[in-house]
Structures are given as C-alpha cells and as structure tokens.
C-alpha cells in the first residue's frame, strides 16, 4: 500500500485508497464477476446447443408494471449472441475496474461499482426485452446510466459539454424510436414483439419505409452513423476507460441489434433500396469516421473515431446483405450477415482492448495526449506487446482476425460484383470495395502512428518518463482480451460458425469458410522463410557489431521535442482532405514565456500551431439547429412580458376564438 502523503506528481497518480475502504467495491466486483461468469458459460452452452433454426423471440416471462404495460423478457439466439459479448466484456471490466478505480474507496466506490454494473445489466436488458415498452425503458436507462458514468469527471467543462451533447442526442434519437414503435404498435395492435411480428406482412410499403427510416435515425445515432455521429468522438474518450470500452465495444453495436430486430422481426422483407441506403450511410460513415481521426492527438478520441469507422463497416455489411438478398443471392446475403457478426465480435474485442490499454496509459502517465508520450515500450513491454496486437488487428494486418473479417467482406463483394444484374449495379458494388480499401489503408496509417507515438522512440514529456508499472488487475484484463483475440485469429472458423449460425436463424445460409487454412499456412510458410533468411545472414556474416549513436539531427544534439507529433505525421493527408474535413490551420506567434526552455534553443521562430477540425454534421446541422431553437425561444418568450393587461387580452381573445370555433351550432 502506498502512502497518500507525498504530493509530487507520480506518487499522486499512484495513490491507492486503503484496501479496507475498498472492500465494498471489491464485493460488488466479485459478485458481478461471478454472475457474469455463470451467465457466460450458460449463454455459450445455449448458443452451442440450441438449433440455429429454432423459433426466434421466445418469451421467457412477463411482468406487468401496469395492467397493460409489460416487461416481457425473452431469449433467442440473436439476443444470446449480444448478451454473450456484453457479459464477456462485463467480466473483463470487473477485473479492470478494480485496478482502475484504485483511488476511490468506501461508499463511493461501492456506489460507483453498482452504477457500472447497472449499466452492464441495462445493456443486457435491452437485448432481452421482448416488448416495446421494456425495450425503450432499458434502452433509455442504458443511455442515461452511461451518461451518469461519463459525468464522473463532469467538473471539467469539456466533459460536461460532451456529456450534455451525448445525452441530448441519444435522447432525441430515442424520440424517433418512440415514434417508430408507437406507429408499429398502432399498425399491429400489439405491444410485444411476437404480437407485432404477426402483422409484419400487412404493413404497407410506404409506412414500412417510414418506420425503417425512423429506425435508421434512432438506432443509427447510437451506432454513430454519419450524420448522427457527432456525440461519439466527444463522449467516448471522456468516459472512464472501461466505460469507454463498454460503450465502444458493445453499446454502439446494440444499435445494430435494434435494427436487426426491427427489420427481420417486425417489418416486411427489406426491399433493395433499404440495403442501398444503409450501404451509402455505412460507406460515408466508414470513410468520414476515420478521416476525422486524422488530426486528433488524443488516443481515446482517435479510438472513438475508429469506432465510427467500424460501425460504418458493420452498416455496410448489413446493407450489402439486403442488397444481395434483393438480387436473389441468398448465400451471399448470408455470408454478409456472417461477416457482420464476425466483424462485430472482433471489433468488440480489439476496441475494448485498446480502450482498456489507453486507460492503462492514462493511469500511469496521467495523459492521453500522444504528443506527450513515447518510449513506453521499454517501461511496460507487456502492455506494448498486447497493444501492438490490438493495433495490428485494428490495422487489418493479415493473419489476424481483423483482416479475416474484412476478407470475408471483400470476397463477398467480389462475388456480388459477379451477381449484380446490370452495369450500374456493378459500378455501385465497386464503391464499397474502394471504401473498404481506402478506409483500411487510412486506419493502418493511423494505428501505426498512435502505436509508434505512444510506445516507440524517446519519451516526449516528464509524465512519459516517470510512468510507473500499471496495476496487475488492469494488465490481467488486457491479457485476457489479447488471449481471446489470438484464439480468434488462429481459428477464425470458430467465430465464423457462430456468425453463420446466426445468419442461419435469419433464414440465410452462408457459404462455407474459405479461410480456415489461412493462419496455419501463414505460419508454415513465413516462419521457416524468416528463419532461413535470418540463419543465412547469420551464418554468412556472423553476429552484427552494433554501435548505438544518437540519431542524426542536422548536427545539433537531438531532443525529444524534435520528434514527430501526431498532427505533423498526418498533416499531408489532412491537407489533402482539407475541404471535406472543413479543416483550418491557425498559426500564431507565441510569447517566449510559453515556450519550454528546452525547446527554445532549437526552435528559432516560436510559432504556435493549432489545427481546427470542423465536424460538418455538428457545425452545419446541430449547432445551427440549437441556435435556431434558442433564438426562436427568445422571441417567443417575449410574450411573457410581465404586463397583466396583455395576459388578460390574450386570455379573452383565445376565449373568443374558442367561442367562435363552437359558434356554428348557435348561428345555424
């Protein structure tokens, strides 16, 4: 146990609340760990034992809140799948949180532990809900709890702003869902999903289209689809890391859960244009999402942008499935659905791993700004290794699972290209392929940048120099994620079978996996060749005589500040996409006091550089809307002028109006 008395920076970061005061929080974590562990095992057996073709939407039980308002709970394979991911991340988070929340003890720790788990449970309730009331209840509770968790650091103005933006946007989206469900209820006359499902084929196409659009807006906001994404890069980075992991890993995918549930259970079969709409939105999201990630230097913010991108990829896969289905290629549609689930699993794993890792870094250095990090590879090689695995998965480096998911999509697109009936369709199919390629390459570059800036080269600041070893519990969580990710990469067929069985429960039979041999073949070819090369070089030229020298820095002695910064690294691309990004660069001279003494001697002209990224959806849509509402409100508010005569005049004139309204019956 470390003491809290010392005041200098690293020890403050290392402060741990007395163990006795953390007992209550620990109790919560252990309790929920056991609950999740049990449900994890149970869900796995359920998924492996139940038939993929078993009836969907089985209702387990019903609780009447009011005589005609129910909580209906059910479980089918789709729910079980999402529940599995939630429970798995829940397990990891319990371990991680114990290490992450070291400073909080006593009742506060207990309360925060409960809040965290309430959030996880609310996500579980979302996937278990089988009627609209309970679904919306759980959905909104989930949003609200994540907001409360986010507001833990609410004293920082940025967090307060982000939290407000988040909760307002998500609530607005839920408003769309309210309308959607209520229209559905009006059409079907029922409120539970099975009741609504009975009527799905009688919904007229135009109304179905309206419902679909409402669902896309409502669920798309949670999933961070463009142009409803503005909250995501603000909110995800500011939450505590394990909450970010949960939000990015599962919560955004629950948007897709909702969409799947609506489209496959409650609406008539999807026509072609639904698929095209989702594909276009998905493509825009994937590309813009990662493009916005270009200029940020905050790791978690970058990860949030990457979440937007991956969410776009999921939308792309889903939309493609509908397009394939509409073109009569059922097998392809099934494969797309399988790819969707495959990518979902992989993304949940690597993204939560990355967020947890970012949390570790924040914990040990006190900063998330990559421009202040560097050289952490030597201080924490194990974290660096695992993070390299996560980053590589994110960057679609071939034998890893991230690539495999993308590969399935690529191959399916190639087949879709052949299936598509006309030239327009073929050219259209090229679009997602190119989007996949371009966003993939951009992700690669950004993943490598962030990894390098955090872990490689020399530390850029005192914080990075004085990083202390992270708590074993946090690292344990990372180990577990990394282990599972490796398993997934080594045997993608396992995941694919699960995904395929889910696609099967939508009545679509995906094709057999073509990539089962990939990982072993990779190993048996590349490792021997590598060894061969290495041994040959060694045998021929012997051990190298290595001399360590400072790097060449144009004749002066190098300084950590000379190293590249996050923005500098991607400036060339950022400048090329200046138009799309609405990007502005501000240079200004700074007074000499503001410049670090060390830097002063290397930088002859002191320039301050600031890049401003403009999110067009936020600046062009939401800010004007909010401004308009406020301005209109101010105008309307003038009616309440304080003048009682005016009030009375309004009262009497409205009375006369109402009397005039009913007057026809008297003048007849």
């Amino acid at each position: 146990m470390r003491s809290a008395q010392s005041t200098n920076c690293p020890s403050d970061r290392m402060y741990v609340a007395p163990r006795s005061s953390r007992l209550w929080a620990g109790f919560v974590y252990i309790l929920f760990f056991m609950i999740y562990a049990a449900s994890f095992v149970w869900l796995l057996t359920y998924l492996s034992s139940s038939s993929p073709l078993s009836h969907r939407s089985d209702i387990l039980f019903t609780y009447a809140v009011l005589p005609d308002v129910y909580w209906t709970v059910g479980l089918d394979r789709l729910s079980a799948f999402f529940a599995l991911i939630i429970v798995f991340l829940g397990l990891i988070v319990q371990v991680y949180a114990w290490g992450y929340e070291q400073k909080v003890g006593g009742f506060k720790g207990f309360f925060e532990g409960l809040l965290l788990n309430a959030f996880i449970v609310s996500m579980l309730l979302v996937v278990l809900a089988r009627d609209m009331f309970f679904f919306l209840w759980a959905w909104e509770t989930m949003s609200l709890l994540s907001f409360v968790l986010l507001m833990k650091k609410g004293d920082e103005p940025a967090v307060a702003k982000a939290g407000t933006l988040y909760v307002i946007m998500t609530h607005t989206a839920t408003g769309f869902l309210f309308i959607m469900f209520l229209i559905l209820a009006r059409l079907s006359g029922g409120s539970t999903f099975p009741e609504m499902a009975h009527m799905r084929f009688y919904i007229p196409p135009s109304l179905a289209a309206g419902i679909f659009v409402l669902a896309v807006i409502g669920f798309g906001t949670k999933a961070g689809l463009v142009p409803f994404h503005s909250w995501l890069p603000e909110a995800h980075p500011l939450a505590p890391s394990h909450v970010s992991a949960l939000m990015s890993g599962v919560m955004i995918t629950l948007g897709y859960y909702g969409l799947l549930r609506i489209v496959y259970d409650l609406l008539p079969p999807a026509p072609l244009w639904w698929g095209i709409l989702l594909m276009v939105i998905g493509a825009a999201t994937a590309f813009l999402g990662i493009l916005y990630g270009l200029t940020t230097s905050n790791i978690k913010r970058f990860l949030a942008y990457s979440s937007i991108e991956n969410s776009g990829l999921l939308a792309l896969a889903l939309g493609s499935a509908w397009v394939a289905k509409a073109w009569g290629a059922d097998e392809l549609a099934g494969t797309f659905i399988a790819a969707f689930f495959f990518h979902l699993i992989v993304h949940a794993l690597f993204k939560s791993g990355l967020f947890l890792g970012a949390g570790v870094i924040e914990h040990v250095t006190g900063t998330l700004d990559v421009d202040k990090l560097g050289g952490l590879m030597r201080r924490m090689p194990d974290v660096a290794t695992m993070m390299s695995l996560f980053f590589a998965t994110m960057a679609l480096i071939p034998p890893l699972a991230g690539f495999t998911g993308e590969w399935i999509m690529y191959r399916s697109y190639l087949d879709l290209l052949r299936v598509s009936p006309d030239v327009l369709g073929k050219m259209g199919v090229l679009m997602p392929i190119l989007v996949l390629a371009f966003s993939g390459m951009m992700t690669m570059g950004l993943a490598l940048k962030h990894f390098a800036l955090i872990f490689l080269a020399a530390p850029r600041s005192k914080e990075a120099q004085t990083a202390y070893p992270a708590s074993i519990f946090m690292r344990l969580a990372l180990y577990v994620v990394a282990f599972f990710l490796l398993v997934l990469s080594a045997s993608p067929a396992l995941t694919y079978h699960l995904s395929a069985s889910l696609a099967l429960s939508f009545g679509l039979m995906p094709r057999e996996p073509f990539f089962t041999e990939f990982f072993p073949l990779w190993l048996v070819t590349s490792i021997p060749v590598l060894l061969l090369v290495f041994i040959t070089v060694r045998l021929k030229f012997g051990r190298p005589k290595v001399v360590h020298e400072p790097i060449w820095a144009c004749g002066i002695s190098p300084h950590p500040h000379v190293q590249v910064t996050s923005y500098a690294y991607s400036q060339s691309l950022a400048l090329l996409f200046k138009r799309i990004l609405g990007f502005k660069i501000v240079y200004r001279r700074v007074s000499s006091e503001q410049v670090d003494e060390d830097v002063k001697k290397y930088v002859p002209v002191r320039l301050f550089h600031q890049s401003k990224l403009k999110d067009w959806a936020y600046e062009g849509l939401y800010v004007p809307l909010a401004r308009y509402i406020v301005r209109a409100s101010e105008r309307i508010r003038r009616i309440q002028s304080g003048n009682v005569q005016m009030y009375l005049a309004i009262l009497f004139s409205v009375l006369l109006l109402l009397l005039w309204w009913i007057s026809p019956r008297f003048w007849r």
Partner: protein
C-alpha cells in the same frame, strides 16, 4: 504426385533465384539507362548487387532510442516480400505459394510491408524517418486504393479471386479492346509509384524536401539497410514482372516452345525436363521483357521531372479513374 512435388520444388527454387538475383540487376538496368541518357557511362549493371553485399559486411550503427522493432523489421519485410514474389506466376504458370495469391491477401500483405517499414522509421525517433514514414503512408493510402481497383479489374476478368490465376488468364481474354489499354496505363502508373520512381519519388536523392522511401531508411545501416533495400528492389521487381506478365504474356509461347524442343506435341503433359525447359525459356522471355521495361522506366525518369508531393495523389487518382474506366469498358462490349 511425387512428380508434382518435385516440379513445385523446382519452380520454387527457380523463381526464388530469379527474384533474389535479378531484382538488383533490374535496378541496375534502370540506373544504367539513366546514366547513358544523361551522357555518362555510369556504374555497371550489377552495381546494386555489390552494394547489397557491401552493406551486409559492414558493422551496424543504430539510434540510441531504438527498440527491438528496428532490428526485427528488416527480416520481416524481406521475408514477406519474398513470399509475395513467390505468390505470383513469374517464369511459368505454376505458382510456388498459391494461398497468398488471393488478391485481397496480396494487397494487405503488401500494405503490411509498408506499415512495418513506416513503423521502424518511427522507432528511431528521428525527424527524417518520421517525415518519410508520414509521406509513405500518405502515398500508400492512394496507391493501395488504386491498386485495389486495378487488380480487381484483372481478377474480375479472370473470373476468380486468385491473382495468380488471373495474371495468367487476363492476357487470354479476347475482345478486351479499349479496356486493356486503359488498364495498361493505370497499371504502369502504379508500377512507377510502387517502385518509388520519378515522377512519384526520387530514389537517388537524400534531400529532406523530396525523399520518401530514402527518408524512412535513413537511420538504417549495415545488414539491416541491405535487407531493407533488397526488399525495395524485390518490390520493384514484383510489380514490374506482374506488369509485363499481365499485359504481354508469354506463357503459351514458352510452353509451346518447350514442348517443341523436347519433341512432344501435346504440351499439357510435359515431363519434368519439359518443365525445367519451360521455366528456363520463361525466365529468358521475362528477362527480355523486363529489360525493355527497365529501359522505358529509365527513359521516363530522365524525361520527366519529379512531381510535387501534393500533386502525386492526382497522378494516382488518375490511375484509379483509368482502372474504373477500364472496368466500365470491359462491362460494355
């Protein structure tokens, strides 16, 4: 069965030899052409090979701040590039490593090589490495996108997802017409870009304003530099050979000639000796084509000026557009 295995081993060895040995020479041909065009005699064609050997023998100087990545990456990229070279048909229609020749795997492994190099460039903590790395990733973004489009056209025409098969069959597809020429142009631009040649990059410069690839490897020395440079040469070789094999195929010629020389009229069932002969002939044809390409590239390098870095995406965008147009042209007979 046994026969097949022996044949595979032979082709693997032959192709590995061709790749490893001739890729520096291809570089040498270009250098020689440039020298001649600029009125110099220049270094001998085998000079790049000598350079590589020289670097292998030298001691290594590394940055103080480097990590284990710096020493691992050269071996890794060398291996991967070699594997990539083995996954496309080069001297005969047979492919040593078939599983890597799926077009998407191919592209992503290629990108992995770039990523690893860029990572190693950042590992040393120098300003120039980072500069090169940054530029390389920017170019890579456009190159791989255009490459994806171009290879897709080839693969689509081939009716399979395997790049290796499509490279063989693309030339056989008749009535390509305008599509063929458009794609040829697109692919040529890509070859230039992937090789890091003028007008995209200038491999001869060490000026921070212009260099891309050279910047990345600035901190390397000794055997590591040699491996990295060799990797780059193999990359050039890979694309150049793909280019000539796709657009100017000679498989049937070498096969028929081999069958004729050995006295078999039916060249579907060539014996082992026939295979050897076929690969030898294929090698000769390949070298001839590559010599021509090398001269053309050398000629281009001395004729054009290097583009401004921010203009390069336009060039690659043109390649992408050409590929798309070619695709469209192939759809409409």
């Amino acid at each position: 069965m046994m026969n097949e295995l022996i044949r595979l081993v032979w082709i693997t060895l032959a192709q590995a030899f061709v790749v490893l040995f001739f890729s520096p020479l291809f570089n040498g041909v270009i250098q020689k052409t440039k020298a001649l065009r600029t009125g110099r005699w220049g270094a001998p064609v085998v000079q790049p090979f000598y350079d590589l050997l020289k670097w292998f023998k030298k001691d290594v100087t590394l940055a103080e701040t480097h990590s284990v990545l710096t020493v691992c990456v050269p071996y890794a990229v060398f291996t991967l590039m070699l594997l990539l070279n083995m996954s496309v048909p080069m001297i005969s229609t047979a492919v040593p490593i078939a599983w890597l020749s799926d077009v998407f795997v191919f592209i992503y492994v290629l990108a992995t090589v770039v990523v690893l190099l860029a990572l190693a460039a950042l590992d040393q903590g120098g300003g120039f490495g980072a500069l090169g790395s940054s530029r390389e990733m920017m170019l890579n973004f456009f190159i791989e996108g255009a490459l994806m489009a171009t290879l897709l056209v080839i693969v689509y025409a081939g009716g399979t997802e395997s790049l290796a098969l499509s490279i063989v069959t693309y030339g056989k597809v008749t009535n390509l017409g305008i599509s063929y020429f458009l794609l040829l142009l697109a692919f040529f631009l890509l070859v230039v870009a992937e090789m890091g040649r003028i007008p995209v990059d200038n491999p001869d410069t060490h000026l921070e304003l212009t260099m891309v690839h050279e910047g990345m490897v600035l901190e390397y020395s000794g055997r590591y530099l040699s491996l990295v440079m060799w990797t780059q040469m193999m990359k050039s070789w890979l694309f150049a050979s793909m280019f000539v094999n796709v657009f100017f195929p000679s498989w049937d010629l070498s096969k028929a000639l081999a069958a004729f020389l050995i006295g078999q009229s039916n060249y579907e069932t060539v014996s082992f000796a026939g295979t050897v002969l076929e690969t030898l002939l294929g090698t000769i044809f390949l070298l001839l084509k590559m010599l021509a390409l090398g001269i053309i590239i050398g000629w281009v390098e001395t004729t054009f000026a290097k583009m401004r870095l921010f203009k390069v995406p336009q060039l690659l965008g043109a390649a992408l557009m050409l590929a798309l147009l070619s695709f469209l042209a192939s759809l409409t007979p």
